[in-house]
Point group: C2
Chain length 245, copies 2
């Protein structure tokens, strides 16, 4: 097994991968948002996804109005629909961002039972919410609390984000730190980028992850954020013209 295969293998083994979700990641990172069926099959095949699984996933995504396909002779080209493009753009702001979301940090709120929690709130306990400072409205129904961020115990960290996510982040960060990623073949490089981005995307789309990153800046999520977005910034976006030739 080559170093590239080992890298891809380790990434594939981090967590079970849903094919449709991996394709969503792929389309979000494509430099010009479209890819032929052949190119898609090449890249997905390189990370071990079978042709039949790709076919089913593409069918589902097209049915959901998320991608569109055009046929030219025997070649099919897939691209994001307008809906898919709009959703991807919104989501990918969080996925690629190198700074932290909600830059003013997070606050705990002790609330009355009838408190209407603002949207990005994370429930820590029945009456205790974690809320971005920007979203805090101290209207008498909540008491704002500033946590001692120097001494955040592990069990509290686990209430923000499940420990399995923290383990995933740590492993992902370790893989992203391996030397030699820049020296891979274009196809392997694309596969590694796709997989790193896929796992990170799932983490970055949860507000709870950003709360953890803000409150525990030495923690595995913050380190993973730092490292994975660094790799993304250093490497070019997915480009079939680069990896399919």
């Amino acid at each position: 097994m080559t170093a590239a295969d080992a890298l891809i293998d380790d990434l594939c083994n981090l967590e079970p991968i849903k094919t449709w979700s991996l394709i969503v990641t792929l389309f979000g990172d494509l430099s010009d948002h479209h890819i032929t069926g052949k190119e898609l099959g090449l890249l997905m095949g390189h990370v071990g996804i079978k042709t039949e699984a790709i076919r089913v996933a593409l069918h589902r995504l097209r049915k959901d109005g998320w991608i569109v396909s055009t046929k030219s002779g025997r070649e099919v080209t897939y691209s994001l629909s307008d809906v898919g493009l709009a959703e991807t753009r919104a989501a990918y702001e969080d996925v690629y961002r190198r700074d932290v979301k909600y830059p003013q940090g997070w606050k705990l709120l002790l609330t009355k039972s009838d408190y209407a929690a603002p949207d990005p709130a994370i429930r820590i306990e029945r009456s205790l919410l974690l809320v971005p400072v920007e979203a805090v409205l101290l209207d008498g129904a909540a008491l704002g609390l500033q946590a001692d961020t120097d001494h955040i115990p592990d069990w509290f960290s686990d209430r923000i984000v499940p420990s399995q996510t923290l383990v995933l982040a740590q492993k992902l960060c370790e893989i992203a730190e391996r030397p030699g990623i820049g020296d891979l073949s274009p196809l392997s490089l694309a596969a590694v980028r796709l997989l790193l981005l896929h796992y990170w995307r799932k983490i970055a789309l949860r507000n709870s992850s950003w709360a953890h990153i803000s409150m525990i800046p030495q923690g595995p999520l913050a380190q993973c954020h730092h490292r994975v977005t660094q790799v993304m910034a250093d490497l070019p976006r997915l480009d079939p013209a680069a990896f399919a030739n």
Copy 2:
């Protein structure tokens, strides 16, 4: 009804008074810790306590080892026992203090269910304690939280101290602020001092009161503390030689 009678009447009507508890207050404030049965009856009678109730209370306190009595001819003199004196001294530090107890303030702790709460802790919710900073041990089982003291909602204040206590404190403070207390007859002055001290003592012996005073320094408990201890400092301690002649 004279101004003195009205003052004493209003104090007596604040809350039901337990005779034995009022006698405990009285002994704690006596300048030399002993009083004759006749002097005791005079002062207690002036605040409306019946002879029979005094007799029962004295019997109970003597049986509990809290006071001792000595007889000289037809005159009985009561004084605190060694136990009573030691307990009174410890308690009265808090009752007469003009500064706040636990000067470093109070902190909220979010705790795990198996957290061993330190002694002066006040439970706000199942897993949320209010603890003096001096007593906080951040050993990994608790997360320290600093409350926004600028915006403490009323419902939170009520979780520290029941609202009926806050109402009592407010009324007590209003009475203590009335002009002319210094101009009362020695016996009425002693009665007013005894009653003010009695209600305040019940408040000051609860740690939750000190938490409230620290966290809500503009609140009714803090104002009551300020005013009542000011009156205590301005007036002489209870002295039968002064009020029984």
